[in-house]
Symmetry: D3
C-alpha cells in the first residue's frame, strides 16, 4: 500500500495563517483534508496553491462571477484527475461533486467514462475540452473554442475550464508523486442523504 | 446521458432456463443486474457468457479450486475494467469487490490507480500482470511469469488472472459499445455496514 | 522460439463430449487446431468458449441468421487479431478467411493494413468499427453507429461486429499469454487451389 | 499564425501591485514577458501564479534554499515544456537557461532530446524523473526516488523537481490553450555574448 | 480497395539505365516488382533509392561484408515494415525472407509478433533493436548497444540493423502514402517447394 | 553528454569523390557539417544518401522543378525531425530554414509546435500532412490528399512533402542511433543579420 512519502508537519509547527485556515476547514468539514497538511511543509507553496485554488474554484472569494456552476467545476476536476490517475483528487473532488450536484452516482460515472455520465450536452462539451487541455493542450485549435461557443459558453468560461484543468493537473502530479492518500471520509460523502437534524 | 442502445427483452419472453436464472439472481440480490437482461436478447450468447463467467469466477461450480480468493478475482475485474473505461463493470464489480474484501475503499482505489491501493505485494503483482494482459498481451514474456512465481503464484493461478482479464475484456467491450449502464443499486453496495436484522 | 507454456492434455484424458467434438474437427480439417487442445485442460472453459464461438461464428447452429457473411466474420477476426498481435488467430483465421472469400491475398492485406485491402466500402466501415471496439471501446459513440447504418448495416449486424471483436479479443489474449502457436497447416490453407479429385 | 486568443489588458488598468511588479520586470529585462500581461486579466490568478512561481524558482525569496541550481531548475522547465509542446515556455525558459548555465547550445538540446544534451549524469536523472512526472505521474514508484538518491539528490530536491514540473505543466497548458506567444526578444537571449559596456 | 495514386510510367519512357535494370529484374524474378516502376517516375530518386538499397541489402555489390545473413536482413525489413503497417514491404520482403531462410512460416510470424517467431535469441535481440530504431530512435541508449554486444553483434552489425530499419522506414512511408500495392506473385513465393526441373 | 558512437574517418582516407564534395561544402559553409563525415565511413551509403538528398532538396540539380519553396522544404525537415526527436536535423536544418525564409524565429516555432508558427495556411496543411507521413503513414487516405489540393498543392508537391519526410525519417534514425551531434556553428546561424561587407 502506498503511503505519503513526505511526513505531515504538526499543526503546532505551522505559521499562524496556515494553522488558522486549516482549523477553519476542520471545523467546517469535520476533518482536515490531507492536501492541507501535505503541502503545509512548504508554507509559501501552500499559500500560492490555495490562493490559486480559491481564485478558480471559489471565484466569489476574489470578486469574480463564473459562468460555470460549482458542480461543473468539480466535474472538470474529477474527470481530468481520473485521466491523470490521481487517487486523491478523484476521491476528494468526486465527493464534493456528489454534494454540489446532489447526484450520488455522477462522480463514479465521470471518473470511469464521462461519455456515459448523466450530464447535459453542454457539460459533455466542457469535459471533452477539459480532457484535451489535460492530454493534448498543444493541439487546441479554434475549432475547440467554436465547439464550446456552440453550447453558449464564452471565452471567460473557456478560460475557467482550461485553468481548472491546468491547476488540477498540477495538483494531480503533486499528489501522485508524493504519495498523498485521500482521507477515508471522502469515499462515502454525498453518497447517502444526510440524516436530518 | 448514455442509455442502452439495445432495449431489454421482457422476462416473459425469455427461454425458461434464462428466466429461471434471472429470477434466482433477483431473489438473491434484490434486483436484476442489467447484464442479465442486456445479453438475454441473444440466448445462446447469454448462456455461453454466463457459463464462461461461472467457470472463471465461481470455480467451485465447475469442480475446480482456484488459488485466487474471491476478492482477488474481483480486484482483477475492477482494475482492468477501469483500464478499459467500462462504467458497468467498474461499478458492478467494484461493489462485489467491496463486499468480498470487506474493504469499502478498495474498489475506488484500484479503479483509479492500483499502485495506490491498499493491497498486498502479491496482489499488486497480480494486477500488474492483469493490466499487461489487458493492454499488451502480445508482449507477455517469461519474465512476466517469473515475477508472479516469485510471489508464490503458480501457472494455474496465472491462467486464472489472464483468463479473468480476457473474459472481462470481452464483457467491457460489450457493455461499452451497447451502452449498458450499471444499476443504481451497485454504486452504494459494500460502502456501509449492512443494517443488522 | 515461443512454445506453449501449458502442455496439452492427451485426448484420452478428456471428457467424452470434448473428445468427440475434437475428433469431429480432426476428421473434417485433417488436423486438430491447437486451440481445441490448449483450452481442453479446463473443460468448463472449453465448453463455454466454443459455445460462445459457435453462437457468433456459426449463427445457424443456434437458429440465428446474421447479416454478415461468413467471410466478413473472419475478416473481422483477422483484422482485430492482428491489431492485438495474436499470431495464432491471425494465421488460423486468415486461413479460413482465404477459403471463405476465395481470395488468397485478402488475409495478408487485412492483417497488415485493412485500409489497403481489396474489400468493399461496407467492409471497410465494418473493420473500422471493429478496430474501434478492439482499441477504444469506451469511445464508441452514436456517430459510429450512424457510419455503419449508412452502409446498410443494422443494429443486429453491429452487435455481431462488436461481439465477434470482443470474443476474439478474449481469444487473442488467451493465445498470446499462453504461448499457443498456430498449427503449421494453417499457413498455406487457401493460398493455392485445391487439387481436383 | 497563432496569436493570443485573449487580448492583454492595458498597464494603466491593472491593480497597483501588479503594475508595479510588471514595471520592475520591464526595467530589469528591457521588455515585458507576455506571461505577465496575459495572466493580468485575472489579478487573483496572476498573484497566485507568480507567488507559486517565485516559491519554486526563486526559493531565496521565500527563505528557502534549494539543492538544485538555478540552471537546473530552468533545464527542468525547458525539457518538460517541450514535452508538452508549449512554445512560450520553451522559448522563454530556454533563454533563461542559456543565460544561467552560460551554455548557448543547451536549451535547444534539452528541448529536442535531453538524452543528447551536454549535461551531467545527475542532471540526466533529474530530467528523466521530471519527464515521468510530466507524462506519467501516476506511475511514479519508489524506484524512481531511489534512482535520484543514487545521484545524491534528497527528498527535498525531488519535491523541487516534481513541483517545478507540475507548476510548469499548468503554465504550459495555460499558454498553449490561450495562444500566448513568446516575445521575440527571448529567441536570441543567451546565444551570443553580451556586448561589453 | 486501395490502388496506386501515381500511375506507373511506361518502360519505353524510362532512361536507359533504369530500363535495363528493370528488365534484368524481370528476367530474374519473372515479373517486375511494383517498387521498380512506382519510383521510376522520378529517375534521380529511383537511382538513389536502389543504390542505397543495394549498399545495405547486397553489401557484396559495394565490396562490403556484413555480419548479418541475407535472411536476417530480410527479417529486419519484414518486422519493421509490419510495425509501420506497410503492406507492400511486408508482402514483398516476407516472400524474400521465406526464400532466403527456407522457412515458409517465418515471415508471417515476424510480421504479426516477432516474440512468437521461430528465431534465435540473437535474432530476437536484433529485431528488438530494429523495432526501437523504428519506433523510438530518439531513445536509443548505450544499454541497447550492450544488449546486442552480448549476442556477439559488433558496432558494424548494429549500424547494419539500424540503417536497414531506417532505409525501409523511408520505403514504407513512400509505399503507404503513394498506394503502392504488392505484386500478387509475392504472396505465395517461398511458401511451397519449387517444382523440380 | 552524448557523443558519436562511430568515429569519423580522416578526410585523407576518403575516396576522392567524397573528399572533393566535402571540401566544397567546407569551402562554402566554413565548416564541415558532421553528417558528411559521419556517413563517409561507408562510401556507398554516403553516395546514395547525398544523391537522394539532392534529388529531393536541390531538385534543380536533377533537372526537376518543385512546387515547394526551398524554405518550405526545410520547414518540413525541421518539423518532422523534431517529431522524431533528432537533435542533429532540428539544429542543422533549423539553421538552413532560418536562412532561406529570413525568419529568425521560425525554426524554433515549428520545432516546438508547428500550430503556433508564423506560417501560411498552405504551409500549415503541408506540415500537418508531413507529420502524418512521419507518424502514421499507414493511415494516409484520400482525404489527406484532398486537404492539400484545397490549398493548391498538386500530386507532385504531395510526393515532395512525403518523400522529404520519409528521407529525413531515415536521416533522423541514423543520426539518433549513431549519436551524431550537430556542429556548434548551426545553433546561431540565421538568428542575427549577417554583418555587411
Amino acid at each position: 500500500m502506498s503511503t505519503t512519502r513526505y511526513p505531515f508537519p504538526g499543526l503546532q509547527d505551522l505559521p499562524e495563517d496556515i494553522r488558522t485556515k486549516i482549523l477553519e476547514v476542520q471545523d467546517k468539514a469535520g476533518f482536515v483534508p490531507n492536501v492541507f497538511l501535505a503541502f503545509a511543509r512548504r508554507p509559501a507553496e501552500w499559500r500560492a496553491f490555495f490562493a490559486y485554488h480559491d481564485a478558480l474554484m471559489v471565484p466569489e472569494s476574489v470578486g469574480r462571477k463564473s459562468g460555470l456552476t460549482k458542480g461543473e467545476r468539480e466535474m472538470i476536476v474529477t474527470t481530468t484527475s481520473a485521466a491523470n490517475g490521481c487517487l486523491y483528487c478523484v476521491v476528494a473532488h468526486g465527493a464534493i461533486l456528489r454534494i454540489y450536484e446532489k447526484k450520488p452516482l455522477l462522480a463514479d460515472q465521470v471518473a470511469v467514462n464521462h461519455r456515459k455520465a448523466d450530464i447535459s450536452p453542454r457539460q459533455r462539451a466542457m469535459l471533452d475540452f477539459a480532457l484535451k487541455v489535460c492530454n493534448a493542450s498543444d493541439q487546441i485549435e479554434d475549432a475547440d473554442f467554436e465547439a464550446l461557443h456552440a453550447h453558449g459558453l464564452n471565452d471567460e468560461d473557456i478560460w475557467d475550464i482550461a485553468a481548472i484543468t491546468a491547476f488540477f493537473g498540477l495538483s494531480n502530479r503533486m499528489a501522485s508523486f508524493s504519495g498523498m492518500m485521500p482521507n477515508p471520509e471522502f469515499y462515502l460523502m454525498g453518497r447517502i442523504p444526510k440524516p436530518k437534524a
